[in-house]
Symmetry: none
Subunit: 353 residues, 2 copies
Amino acid sequence: MIKKVRIVGAGLIGTSVGLRLKAAGSSVEIIDINSNAMKLAADLVKSEVIAEPDLIIIAVPISANTQTVVEQLSNNSKSIVCDLASVKSDLLLKVKELSANSDNFISLHPMAGRETNGAQNARADLFEGRAWIGVSDSFSHAKNKEIAQNLVEICGGTLYWLNSKEHDDLVAKISHIPQILSSVIAGSLSSLSRENLNLAGQGLRDLTRLASADATLWSQILTENHAAIATQLDLIIDDLNHLKQSITSNNSAAMVDFFNKGNNGKSKIPGKHGAKNRDYSYLPIVIDDKPGELARIFNECAKVSVNIEDLNIEHSPGQETGLITLALSNSDCMKLSNHLENLGFKVHPAKNR
Amino acid sequence: MIKKVRIVGAGLIGTSVGLRLKAAGSSVEIIDINSNAMKLAADLVKSEVIAEPDLIIIAVPISANTQTVVEQLSNNSKSIVCDLASVKSDLLLKVKELSANSDNFISLHPMAGRETNGAQNARADLFEGRAWIGVSDSFSHAKNKEIAQNLVEICGGTLYWLNSKEHDDLVAKISHIPQILSSVIAGSLSSLSRENLNLAGQGLRDLTRLASADATLWSQILTENHAAIATQLDLIIDDLNHLKQSITSNNSAAMVDFFNKGNNGKSKIPGKHGAKNRDYSYLPIVIDDKPGELARIFNECAKVSVNIEDLNIEHSPGQETGLITLALSNSDCMKLSNHLENLGFKVHPAKNR
């Protein structure tokens, strides 16, 4: 149980953590150098002044992170101080160098966020089902690990362990490079007329969603994680140069390879909320778009003891038929497919998947 | 009114157009060289054999597009033939060269699609609120423009006019480059473990959504539109090289400029036009993860005559409960929520949406 918490930084992340801890029964103090942000966040989390916090959470912009950690460590020698910043290697070196209390420091990185900032966008469930990275080389004591585990559990997340170098390399690949490529595409659209941009489909919107991110914040992240990002960016540029050659030399096989490599990487990303991509069979069934049709199918599933792992429904207003696709184990898929076909359902099992 | 339509190609696009035309009262024939795909699509659109179609819509892979257009033009001299392919300049030259009936040809490009292919993913509202490009230099007669306008209206879209060169340059920027960058990021993940990819947030999922696209199809698109894509790809590579230099020389101002240019481009993409806002209410229900649970819910839906528009299931390994979220009309949502709550289901309706 974390009884008394101070949060430094009344932005999206700090306020969201505060809301969650408050709901879990902790006493919470939230402070910020911006008095407006602090007032809103304090109202939201019912902030109270805390003299000796068990835990101090630092949720400030990355350029202020190291300094704030060091200050809080030296002013509160009995408190654990935990930062939530998105780049770690340099931070750990500096905290050890600059603070006599570095044994009280722990470093976590919640893999969550929104493209909107500020306390006004905070929500207690921001971290629900999210992964948190615990930076293993920041932990001096087993007791500190318990506090980290406790915080992540309260927030509804799952804790994974990486050392600071592994962390920085990984976030370069899964977070910083995606941000850069989203911004480069969005930047390449600057010269187009709004009329032409009106023609963009959902794909472009998805690809550029991150591009509205804060420019100053991101230049700080690139500065902090420059080595890992530069290495990864070189690889991306190499791949693009290689593709360019394939296009100009009309090398179809190389182009297919490029997209297949993308397919392969994409297929390795687990589904929602860390759920693993399991090896399911998919059974599409055409149904009439009226109440009761789904129940008929699920009743037949229950009758033959088939467990539905996932499903999706495609239908739209004004359409007479809908399509439901069930994800099943391979054996359940065959069993259910035969059963429903015998009953006259319009079942369309894949012939070779 | 388009009375009799033949659709050649029972994939995502062809079947979706078919569903919409059928719902609008047209007689629809859908054919495909793949008999499984044809059977599913024929069930979905209630296909019938049509001798003299008013309109023949070609929705085949781009490598087969020109040939299919030319064949349908020569075998159906009284029908308008309309292709929906995503690259146009070369197509127009070849149809004029190879067909005596090129006056009956019109060329459209609906700016819609999904990352999943096939009739099983088709939906009548795929084009709802989407932009369609009419290729102005493909139209020989004013009468043909009326048919195009009519088709786009039935599909719920808006028609814009560009010539074939303008079209190909624009789609390189707003569609082909985004696909390439989505694939290059996803490809760069191939070397990561699934465990590490488990840490990815929503940003990476958005950026790589397109990367599951068909490799062969996309190599054909790159081949067809090679000149425009190569030019645009050079500009992207230049921008990334420039950013790389800014990072290694620690030039903060240049990094801020890079992200600001992205902010600027992003802000020019119109908000609502492309994506249709489906006005559903969402009802989350916590369920036990065992056979029969879904059937119980759907039986109750049927009892109170509630129609489920869409749904999604989330459950994670090691977790005994799952979360099912139903998309419903506002009135159905209130009705079902009260009904299930009275029966003891763990229903979590949004308090203020």
